[in-house]
């Protein structure tokens, strides 16, 4: 391996390390913040780093989307709701039922461990060892993914519009000002 390739791979490793550290630290911070606003900010960090990881995977289109949709739109939505319902809480983790929930986390950890063990055990398989960008022209670009989207995946593309429509409609239904609920039994 020549020096240039080596340093390129070195750089790649460093970038990967930084980005994945961003993802994981961001994630950890998100679930540990007491204030939801800070949690949203940390989540933005996670998603931004994730977008970076997507880019290193040659998923440029998705990386852009990740920033636009998640770090942008969805997070703004979150912020709105946080502003609406936020109450500073003294205990971020409820005491009651903690044993069961901790057992749940352990169980999830066990599943995680199993899969992680399998992945590292099989890391020499071609699938898991592959690292280079695949030799497909325009891999992961808007045009390539878009072409696929409008060819083979036309049906899901149409179907997801229904999903988004109903999310919007339903959101409006639930949150709009009470118009026809004449009775005001809501305290």
């Amino acid at each position: 391996m020549n020096l240039a390739a080596h340093s390129a791979s070195m750089a790649e490793t460093i970038v990967f390390a930084i980005l994945s550290a961003g993802v994981l630290v961001g994630g950890l911070l998100t679930v540990t913040r007491r204030n939801p606003v800070s949690a949203v900010m940390c989540l933005v960090l996670t998603f931004a780093a994730l977008a970076g990881l997507f880019a290193t995977l040659s998923a440029h289109f998705l990386a852009v989307l990740q920033i636009l949709v998640y770090a942008g739109a969805v997070m703004v939505l979150f912020i709105f709701v946080v502003m609406m319902v936020n109450r500073e809480e003294s205990t971020p983790i409820a005491r009651q039922g903690l044993v069961t929930r901790a057992a749940g986390v352990l169980a999830a950890g066990y599943v995680f461990y199993r899969v992680a063990w399998l992945v590292s055990h099989e890391r020499t398989l071609p699938l898991l060892a592959a690292s280079a960008t695949p030799p497909v022209k325009d891999f992961g670009t808007v045009s390539a993914v878009g072409a696929l989207l409008f060819a083979d995946f036309l049906f899901p593309f149409e179907a997801i519009s229904l999903l988004l429509l109903l999310a919007v409609v339903g959101g409006v239904m639930l949150t709009r000002h009470v118009r026809e609920d004449h009775s005001s039994r809501v305290s």
Binding site: V23, G27, V69, L77, P92, I93, F139, G171
Partner: protein
């Protein structure tokens, strides 16, 4: 970087999300954790996609992203309506239905 490294990161993110869902009291943070789990799935999909040189994973990831956005919208709407009826966003206080 080899694919397995990405998968491990995505698994770790998935686990962190799961832990957040299971432990946090604030329903908004729980929803954020759910989003994290979905994002972890996206990352795994994209890693496999690159390893296989196949872009179907990208398309799937695209849909997962849309789906996560829709889910967030609906989830937040429901959180708002819970907050309206109960004046709380703490999950441990939303336990009127049981038994």
């Amino acid at each position: 970087m080899p694919t397995y490294a990405y998968i491990l990161v995505s698994l770790a993110l998935f686990f962190v999300g799961a832990a957040g869902v299971l432990l946090r009291r604030n329903v908004l943070i729980v929803l954020m954790s759910v989003e994290m789990q979905l994002a972890a799935g996206t990352l795994a999909l994209l890693s496999f996609s690159r390893a296989l040189g196949d872009q179907k994973g990208h398309v799937f990831a695209f849909f997962v992203m849309a789906l996560a956005a829709a889910e967030a919208a609906v989830g937040l709407a429901i959180v708002v309506s819970v907050f309206r009826t109960r004046r709380t966003a703490s999950l441990d206080e939303v336990n009127g239905l049981k038994g």
